[in-house]
Symmetry: D4
Subunit: 222 residues, 8 copies
């Protein structure tokens, strides 16, 4: 299906969630931290829903960078954790690349904190290694907005595709016409686009008013 329309093929995809650590999160200045946490959760839940392999890793998690946020394992329990021995670019860590190769898949979704380092370096390396690479910029988190602007230009120049969390979930989902349709909607409403949660609540209330009748008793008019 991906061949048909230029979008990615979930069957060919691996998700790399790199260095989403509590300490590093406190250095993020381009995405509000709670949003960032939610976007990572959205990716994790989507991968779980579609049985997409998830590979995680952390940069010196026993130092000030802090631990991986617990939500990744919580919402993607199948995620494989590959420890590093100090490499900044996860692609420099042979076990990390081997874990990807073992899946036999050639499309990568990459999110990483910091965007211009932990997301960008493996993206550049993976494109060079022949992978089709999607960079989820807003599920990554960077130390400055200007650094993110340069990174969008850099990864696009290198041939990786810049995208955002909502688009990534939608590109994986492809259609509402599937059994998991409402579960995708729930992910988007809960973690990516909270305005949508309001829409659902209002929609259900509007329909309930038809069924149950109005409740506001205006004294004089209606």
């Amino acid at each position: 299906m991906a061949e048909f329309n230029g979008l990615l093929d979930p069957e060919d995809t691996v998700m790399l969630l790199i260095d989403h650590q509590s300490g590093l999160f406190n250095t993020v200045r381009d995405v509000p931290i709670p949003d960032l946490r939610n976007y990572v959760i959205a990716l994790a839940k989507t991968a779980t829903l579609l049985n997409i392999p998830v590979i995680t890793t952390a940069s010196v998690p026993d130092g000030p960078n802090g631990p991986l946020i617990p939500e990744i394992d919580q919402y993607a329990p199948h995620a494989q954790y590959v420890p590093r021995t100090g490499q900044i670019n996860a692609w420099d860590n042979p076990p990390f690349v081997e874990a990807i190769e073992k899946t036999g898949r050639k499309t990568l979704i990459i999110a990483g904190t910091l965007t211009s380092v932990c997301m960008a370096f493996p993206a550049v390396s993976a494109v060079q290694a022949g992978y089709k690479v999607y960079c989820v910029v807003d599920a990554s988190g960077n130390w400055s907005k200007m650094a993110t602007d340069t990174t969008i230009a850099r990864v696009a120049q290198a041939g990786a595709i810049p995208t955002d969390t909502f688009a990534m979930v939608a590109e994986l989902m492809r259609t509402w016409n599937r059994a998991e349709g409402s579960r995708f909607a729930q992910i988007l409403a809960d973690h990516v686009c909270p305005e949508y949660k309001c829409l659902i609540e209002s929609f259900q209330k509007a329909q309930k008013v038809v069924e149950d009748g109005p409740e506001t008793n205006l004294d004089k008019y209606q």
Copy 2:
């Protein structure tokens, strides 16, 4: 204690959560909607923790304004809902004022969507009626930032005290030296200041490293 230092007395306080409705939330432009929802939850949980009476009301919830967000009842199950018969200023609705009077308390915490209407009008009326009034500006949500700027000036001019959600929770909490200390911390970390959640996670990890030893195996150096 409040007499002593100019801050409010939780024993004398009623919390008014006015018109936090899903439809109205989608008109809010000064506070991100998920933040707004969380700030209201924080107020609701704090009121529950301290047994502060909560009074809610809604403006024509069977129309496009939408239903009250469900989290208020969920986290403040003791909240009393007072229906209105169309009044925009909740203070114009006699049952609403009577509900406040029944508590015998004279300090009001008011949050309402929209800030310049549903929060500001009752605040002005309550000051005139002799109440001490706190306006929680960022738990209210307004249709424009400029409207919020004018509203801060207006309610301060009228004698109501403008404040924010974090300050409100802290002013109610007063001290960490109480049985509920950690529960307040949890409210702030979960709903008001998510950076704090990262700090807790990092703090615990740092201490765990002392106890369990490091986990990063650098090949050559440490």
Copy 3:
């Protein structure tokens, strides 16, 4: 009713729309011009709905300041135009003050372009002359945002009440429980808070789906 709760009394109110001219509009930098035009329309329509006297004036409209925007007369055909002979502060123009005095009303709603001049000067003068004054800051339009910030502080310091268009309409409307309820809603949706227009459309569609059944034909699931 106004006495009761500190809000204004529409029966005691005159609306002054000062120098909303096409040329001056092109100098406005604190409010998007189309929004400004709509906010003025909203005030004009509201005044018409409530039979509130409207007095307009213009500053040298036969020069680069340009003509009064045509929408004022269009939506408040009862507006009285008082020409000036060059005075910047409309209050310096005796016929303008006399027109106000003839109404016998003592509460003024003032909007004017530029905010820090055409709105602020008459507001200060009117407070000194014993009027209760509301300044509609976002229906005024100023040459810079910092000028608006100083003006909010200045008029509040002088004793005038700073407010915004939505709050002004709502303060005049007071309740949905009146014959004109839906017409107020239409004013707000069309001219002040366009997000509300979406809510109405979605609300009606949601109810229509209950009545007519769904229209999306998912091939496999629903």
Copy 4:
């Protein structure tokens, strides 16, 4: 004419207006909602003026996404609506692509809400299918500004041309030297660039002053 200068040829063009729905509009954070509505109207009116085929579609309009905004049919009554059966990428819906193919035209103007999904996915697919594609970014509306930044980079990388509503109307219009000249001007003034409306009013007033003489009576000088 298009061949001559690199711009598009209106005779070869189809306009795709995808998922401009009231519910989705309330999730838009990169373009003010009233502006977005106006930009879509501008495209619709321009297509009508030039007899450019318009194809619309909606994503589950009987759910919280809400109905198509009514203005599309109102201002482009010749628009063909193609229902979808759940596909997120309209290009995945064979009847949608067939409708385009039936026109025999090979240049597409695409606007869609959300930008990074409903506009970007069909744009990428259409480029792959050999079409020349224009993406009208500000007539699309996205859930976050950062998502729009990544999308501009993505569609440009894919070979689609990013543009804006004013430029799109102007590129279709090509010259004032045509019978419909003033109607294009009216579209731009009413829906895209309201400052222009002020300029027209001021221009006409300035000319009227020459014809009718001045109206401001200064007491002492002129």
Copy 5:
């Protein structure tokens, strides 16, 4: 006239331009530097036009603070320069206060760089000494925007009136119905509100078209 409407009386006014020095200007972050320079020029020209006494002073101009900008003397050649012997608050310099007292006037217009120091300190001191004080916030220039926000609150709290350059010029001018009317307009167009310059040019062109006929030769239509 000032008594009548609460605005200042130019006959009772002295203008204090404090520490507008080239070095200090390069520390200004709340107003664009060219705007700041122009606003000071506007004040200087207005004072000259109305024969308002101007008193200037500088803070250690032979050090990195740099010289007074030359435009003050250029456009207000009657300005009296009072050297200081190191005092930060100009009011602490007896010759400076004496120069003011010699004018016998009791209303002060103060602008100074930095706003929160050189404008605010003398403003607070002058209010205490019984003067009516206007603070021209945007003709002052501050080292940070937050510092300006606190300063507006501080001087308003102290009883000084915060205002902006346009409002100041207009409050001094009072009416277009005076011999110098067009010279005030020129000051505003050249130095305060450059959009106005465009309006004048467009206005004159529009009138010239009536007199001379159109110049655009459309081939086919008009």
Copy 6:
């Protein structure tokens, strides 16, 4: 010299200043209008200094678009004005292209209001016609910031080089080691980077202090 380092060759360059008209300037929202006017002056003066041919044109200057700003002719009196007969893309006007061709030069500097139309369309056309094209984005002025963002991407995608006024002047100037060195500095200080004017004033004062001795008399210390 240009061949040597990839920068443009002034000897091969023509400057196109398109549609810098007073009316259109009032629609500009991405660059402050006085800055825009100054940037155009800087380009005009630079062209004059280097004897670079300048070609101007205007879009319906006898309508609301208004006249060309007078500063172009004032500072580039050698500019050739080519009237159009309604074409939006100046490249569609054969006399305009012929005027360029007559110079025999193949590098174009283009600035135009609006950026996404009057600058972008001729830029795309000229690249197609084989010219090397520089787009001076901030000497152009656009109706919205998002439109400018898309335009930078569009013209870069088309092969034109996006740049800014300061860089353009510097790229033409190439070296301070030329007779006109100080005149370039004056252009930059007066019209592009006013902070530089402060630097010059401070620099001269600092040197004067060495020559003339200090002037601040501190009573006690130095």
Copy 7:
């Protein structure tokens, strides 16, 4: 001296630096963290220079709030640390108030992280207790900008004076005409207004060029 001009008297002043802790700093969103750290250093150094008593305290520094930043003790070694037993408002801690009372001084400079809590609560309490209170808003650091806006209004309403770091240092310094003049300048250049550091460097270089002659060898011109 303070009596004379309404500014504070350093001899009557105590500085309270409350809860400037590394963990809390990572929750600050209204002031860049490095700036905040520098502003606190500036206050500490100034207090040391003037022998102003400094009292510090921390909120649960053995938890996620983290330790006091080390710079306070480093630059104000005379600072007295008063531990708290959990009180959020430092004024609720009797030993803290006693430490202030022991100084016999009645003017307080307060900075605290978070602004709307740790700075605002003691400020309100101290005003009630009869102190003259200065709130240094930008040496405090808050969890959101809107919270800071409400806090400026709140403390001003309560009678405390809002100010900024630069103004505070200048108000304490009062004059350059003192032995410590250059040390104040160094504090401002190093920690508050780094643009000033550039000015000093440029000033010295300009004077050195006079003394040593120029160093740029232009080949052809000078």
Copy 8:
């Protein structure tokens, strides 16, 4: 190693720090000046740590541009200074290019003030001369944000890689698993990402609490 993953090879790299001068710094508007100074220090220290050749130059440092900031020589004492004879593009200065060629290295890291001139011009020239070029956008400093936006597009279009200071340091560092690991961390914490400094302090404190026990004595609970 660089060959392996597409990142640069420090062994093949030269760092060019161009025109970081005190006067020019005061014209920078896209990066806060203290941040800019720190980013340059970070690059200098990193080069020193890795023995990467550094070449500096300055543009007319005996004029208003001011001297090179002293920190470059302070932290990269091995830096070679190449004087220019007026050339704006350092690449136009033969001794500058020769200095690069003498190193025999083919990868360049370029930072320069102003970004769109002093960084961009040599970047374009170096790419044309066959070098692999990294542009450190935020260690450069530009006169306007829009100029930076155009420059990112321009250098990417030319084939140079846009990046930021943090990414540059990390790309040079490559791994924590090296003797200098902690020195890199110190550079980042001190000069690039000060939030990290807080994390280190908090991390150490958290571990100290485990070792030494808590210090807060709550009266009643813990």
